[in-house]
């Protein structure tokens, strides 16, 4: 009986996902255009790093708009954090990025998606490639990794993070802290449009040489997660394949309209 109990814990809930009201308990400005909202979801079943939620807003006249947002927080935390980039022509993101305040209720359903997920029991080297707010689901993975006790047991990991300017590097302080505490985690930044005078990172879009020199220390068979605007993801995935990575080792998550061209 006890083994059956252990087994059932692994079962994905088979009931259809239900919309439920989540309460905003905190907000945090990450960059001028990006804000994190912290949600208390009453019946949250827990999530895996890389999953997303669907979020629904209803106007007074009944009009509804629905979007998917990646979860930024680690599975180890009880609150659900979403990091939202404001799209100037967006229907939903300006409200979430500018208007929502503590105590507001927002309808969500989730967690959703079993494909673009990473779990720390995976022993293979980990490569994360982010463009702009594509860093969000990858941050959940890095936070999940950081929750692993024992630095020595971690496999090597890399984050290659592209943004237009240093102000748009979401989570930069936390990322630098994570890298300082984790000898096996390396973070490389590239700024594609504007760089501070003392900038020591890359100054161009992600290209073949950049992927090659950063992934080489991870050995032959890292598992690679790429998230960002569609053209950036397409380009990175094609470069990875041309460098000999197996298509099945490259997991991608593309954004739709993102306003992050030029990354």
């Amino acid at each position: 009986m006890s083994s059956a109990t252990a087994e059932t814990r692994l079962v994905t809930p088979s009931a259809p996902l239900k919309w439920q009201a989540a309460r905003v308990v905190a907000t945090r400005q990450e960059t001028p255009h990006v804000r994190t909202i912290v949600l208390d979801v009453p019946d949250w079943p827990g999530h895996r790093a890389g999953q997303h939620v669907d979020l629904r807003l209803t106007a007074a006249d009944g009009y509804q708009a629905q979007r998917s947002y990646s979860i930024a927080s680690a599975p180890e935390t009880s609150k659900v954090e979403l990091t939202i980039e404001r799209l100037d022509d967006g229907e939903v993101s300006p409200y979430l990025a500018d208007v929502v305040t503590d105590g507001d209720l927002i309808e969500v359903r989730g967690p959703i998606g079993g494909y673009f997920v990473w779990e720390r029991r995976v022993q293979r080297p980990l490569a994360l490639i982010a463009g702009g707010s594509g860093v969000v689901p990858l941050m959940a993975m890095l936070r999940h990794r950081a929750a692993t006790p024992g630095d020595g047991s971690r496999s090597p990991a890399l984050l290659l993070f592209s943004a237009r300017s240093v102000e748009e590097l979401i989570y930069r302080e936390e990322l630098d802290r994570l890298a300082a505490r984790d000898a096996r985690l390396r973070i490389a930044y590239t700024l594609t449009r504007a760089q501070p005078v003392d900038w020591r990172g890359y100054r161009r879009r992600i290209d073949r040489d950049m992927i090659s020199e950063n992934l080489a220390p991870l050995g032959d068979t890292p598992i690679v997660y790429v998230c960002g605007p569609t053209p950036m993801v397409e380009s990175a995935a094609n470069l990875l394949v041309s460098l000999g990575h197996a298509p099945n080792d490259i997991l991608t998550e593309r954004f739709g309209p993102s306003g992050t061209g030029g990354i």
Binding site: T8, G114, Y115, F116, E253
Partner: protein, 92 residues
């Protein structure tokens, strides 16, 4: 103006809708494309959102699956998949 390319996502983004229709997790289900025979997880397929939702093959861009939703109903066309291998949760 948004270009068509802007609206292309991964099959992973269809997970919410698919979870309303199918009980098991579908983004990790392996499809076999009826057109080219490629085998990949549905989460790696290309998602196009138009009047309905269209998943296209990662390799040949052939249509794998169409879902059109209407109030209280959904119409599903799976004819672009020769096979779908679904991992079932352990029975309880």
């Amino acid at each position: 103006m948004r270009s068509v390319e802007d609206l292309v996502l991964d099959g992973n983004a269809a997970a919410g809708l698919l979870s309303q229709i199918f009980v098991p997790e579908m983004t990790t289900a392996q499809f076999t494309c009826a057109g080219c025979g490629a085998v990949h997880p549905l989460g790696a397929a290309r998602l196009f959102e138009a009047a309905g939702l269209v998943l296209r093959c990662t390799d040949c861009s052939g249509v794998l699956l169409r879902v059109v939703s209407a109030p209280g109903r959904a119409f599903i066309d799976l004819s672009g998949m020769r096979r779908l291998e679904i991992t079932l949760p352990p029975s309880t």
